[in-house]
Amino acid sequence: MANKRNFKYLVFLALFLVLLGIPSYLWNKNSVKTMAGRYNSPMSPIIMIPGSSASANRFDDLVKTINSKYGEHHSLLKLTVHTNDKITYSGTIKAGDTRPFIVVGFQNNNDGYDNIKKQARWFSIAFDQLKQRYRFNNFNAFGHSNGGLIWTYYLEHYFDSNTFDVNQMLTVGSPYNFEEKNSNNRTQMLNDFIKHRDKLPADLAYYSIAGTKLYTDDGIVPLGSVDSGKYIFEGIIKHYTLITLTGDKAQHSDMIANSQFIILFHQYMIGNNKNNPAQTPSKNPR
């Protein structure tokens, strides 16, 4: 009788499943516990803040260039925070997009330390709404010009690094010492940034890009002012890197269209991230 001889295979099958089931059940119990502590969303957005006198539409071309140059399909969501703390949205995040771009712009986009403090508060309102809506637990930060100052102020005063990860930050022409060339003449803002620098997230990797023309500035922001960022970040965060860009389109406002910048942007903001699926081997053949 064939059935009896095969019985041992059935028993083996059942034992094998039980044997596999027990450890994976225990493991899963554990992983659910850690997951419950923090959302394990596959989404890791790139959150961008434009500089002064620019709107949330500032990076439209940049996103278009990235998508066409690298053949990727990142969606673009734009928020504008109004002076009465109300937020308007435009654009959408496509279902399944794990690396969307989110731009946060401000109705009051004026320059000056007082405005930066206000904008950082507005940004924190927008950020809270975003994390409520999209439930991510980590992101990359990008700031153009004053956008980098808003990021720094936000990270020092509003950000909770215990429940959230900022993986990488990239800024372009962020003037930590405003228009001051000489870093010995520290502005009020730079002093404040240095005073609160202990609150910066310790595992942050920060890349600061400075453009230069004739060795000194990018037409608006002096190299020394961007370089002053080192007094804030060096030794506090995991990595602080200053990159100097020169040549065609290295002026303050043009820089985000510079092809060198696009490469750096893609490398640090999109390409090199722990949630990046490109690092795991291809899932084919299924």
Binding site: L17, L20, P285
Partner: protein, 445 residues
């Protein structure tokens, strides 16, 4: 025949099958599947090592400690990738060889050269025109998912040989070289024609794109279209499941892959957040999702619940071939890699198994959907590592709900019972078939 098949349904199914077995396509497909079976079998064991044990997202890989920069482990990963890509990931090329060889033999043409030509033709068609990487191919066309295309291509090549080259003479020339040369020049025209057609085809048609167009469409339907009505949601999921099941029956592919479980479906994310917030899967907002129905209850052993077929074979089969295949493909099937049993029995293109292949998963899903709607068990909401054994998916995905495990067992029993009568029919048919081969219907090579 009437002695063998007692009931009416069996008899009509047997009649249809025997009719189909007269078709050239059917004979060739079956022989080709048998030919690629050893490579598929080896490949599926390697796939376990690659996707389940060594991959960080694999079922066993998640249990193991992190070995990111270990030289030895990385070398093993490299070698298993290599071997699994060139066995399981390359079987369609072998199938193209087999199909052309058997077709040419049937028409009494040069079968060796037809087979080789067909292999080259498949590689030409799946060639990627890229300056960056010379000699790279669309791997979907070469893997098990391209089997149907490869068999059709092989038969086409065999047919071209029939049309454009004369029969090979039976008389052999005295020495080896002139023998080979004679064969070459008999078939040269056919070889050139096939290569030219393949080259034109590959240059003009983006095969990989068109072959995946329906999948892309189903994929976007699966993730983008959501309904609040659970009846419609159930119909949508079973529709996509049905498509996936039929496609894998035909050696194609479908949107629901047994190894990767969806993460991007908004309903699934919704469920996960609910469960993480409330520390339980009970009461999650969406009872019916592709995870809670298809992946948890309709993929015991991969598409078509083929693990149930293996159990059915152990329970009732007396056919030594079936038993051997079942033993050998049991372990890969536990990890939802069913390519082995698909080609070994074979289940693929086998009309006898089409009904249980579709019914077992669909009825399991129906039982699960009923249980979920009545809140007898929580939905499967937590992410599951890839290659989690089918019978454990519901249990682990609900973070250890006993109710889910009980319904899994019920579904397995039901699936096995759906398969049992068809295993018996297949066995009886095999007897008739064996007699036919002995009578010299087609010479078994």
């Amino acid at each position: 025949m009437n002695k063998l098949f007692t009931n009416k349904f069996e008899r009509s199914l047997a009649k249809i099958t025997l009719k189909l077995q007269q078709l050239l396509f059917y004979k060739i497909a079956q022989k080709t599947l048998f030919m690629i079976f050893p490579f598929v079998l080896i490949g599926s064991f390697l796939k376990i090592i690659q996707a389940v044990i060594l991959s960080k997202e694999g079922f066993i890989g998640t249990l193991l400690p992190d070995f990111e920069d270990n030289w030895l482990v990385n070398s093993i990963i490299g070698v298993t990738n290599n071997l699994s890509n060139l066995t399981l990931g390359f079987v369609s090329v072998l199938a193209a060889f087999g199909a052309a060889k058997y077709t040419a033999k049937h028409f009494k043409r040069d079968d060796q050269l037809a087979g080789l030509t067909s292999m080259v033709a498949l590689l030409i068609i799946s060639y990627i025109y890229s300056k960056a990487q010379p000699l790279s191919f669309h791997n979907n066309l070469l893997s098990i998912r391209g089997t149907l295309f490869a068999i059709l291509l092989g038969m086409f090549v065999g047919w071209i040989f029939k049309q454009t080259s004369p029969e090979i003479p039976h008389k052999h020339l005295p020495n080896f070289t002139s023998n080979i040369l004679q064969r070459t020049f008999i078939s040269l025209r056919s070889i050139l024609i096939v290569i030219l057609i393949a080259a034109l085809f590959s240059a003009l048609v983006n095969v990989a794109y068109y072959s995946h167009l329906p999948d892309e469409f189903m994929d976007s339907l699966a993730t983008n279209y959501q309904s609040n009505n659970s009846g419609i949601e159930f119909l949508k999921i079973s529709g996509i499941a049905l498509y996936t099941i039929i496609m894998s029956f035909l050696g194609w592919s479908g949107p629901y892959s047994p190894l990767d479980i969806e993460k991007s479906d908004p309903n699934i994310l919704d469920n996960l957040y609910y469960a993480l917030n409330h520390h339980t899967a009970w009461g999650a907002p969406h009872d019916l999702t592709s995870n809670s129905l298809y992946h948890a209850f309709a993929t015991f052993g991969g598409a078509g619940s083929t693990l149930a077929l293996i159990i059915a074979i152990f329970l009732v089969s007396r056919d030594p071939d079936f038993q051997t295949v079942a033993k050998w493909t049991m372990i890969p099937s536990v990890f939802n890699i069913n390519s082995g049993i698909m080609t070994g029995i074979p289940v693929m293109f086998n009309i006898v198994f089409l009904i249980p292949f579709i019914m077992a998963p669909l009825i399991s899903m129906l039982i699960a959907a009923t249980a979920l709607s009545l809140h007898l068990m929580p939905p499967c909401v937590y992410p599951i590592p890839s290659g989690t054994p089918g019978p454990l998916i519901a249990f682990i995905g609900t973070n250890g709900s006993w109710q889910a495990l009980i319904f899994t067992l019920i579904d397995i029993v039901v699936s096995v019972y759906i398969y049992i009568p068809f295993v018996k029919i297949a066995e009886k048919l095999k007897k008739i078939d064996n007699l036919a081969i002995e009578e010299g219907d087609i010479d078994g090579q």
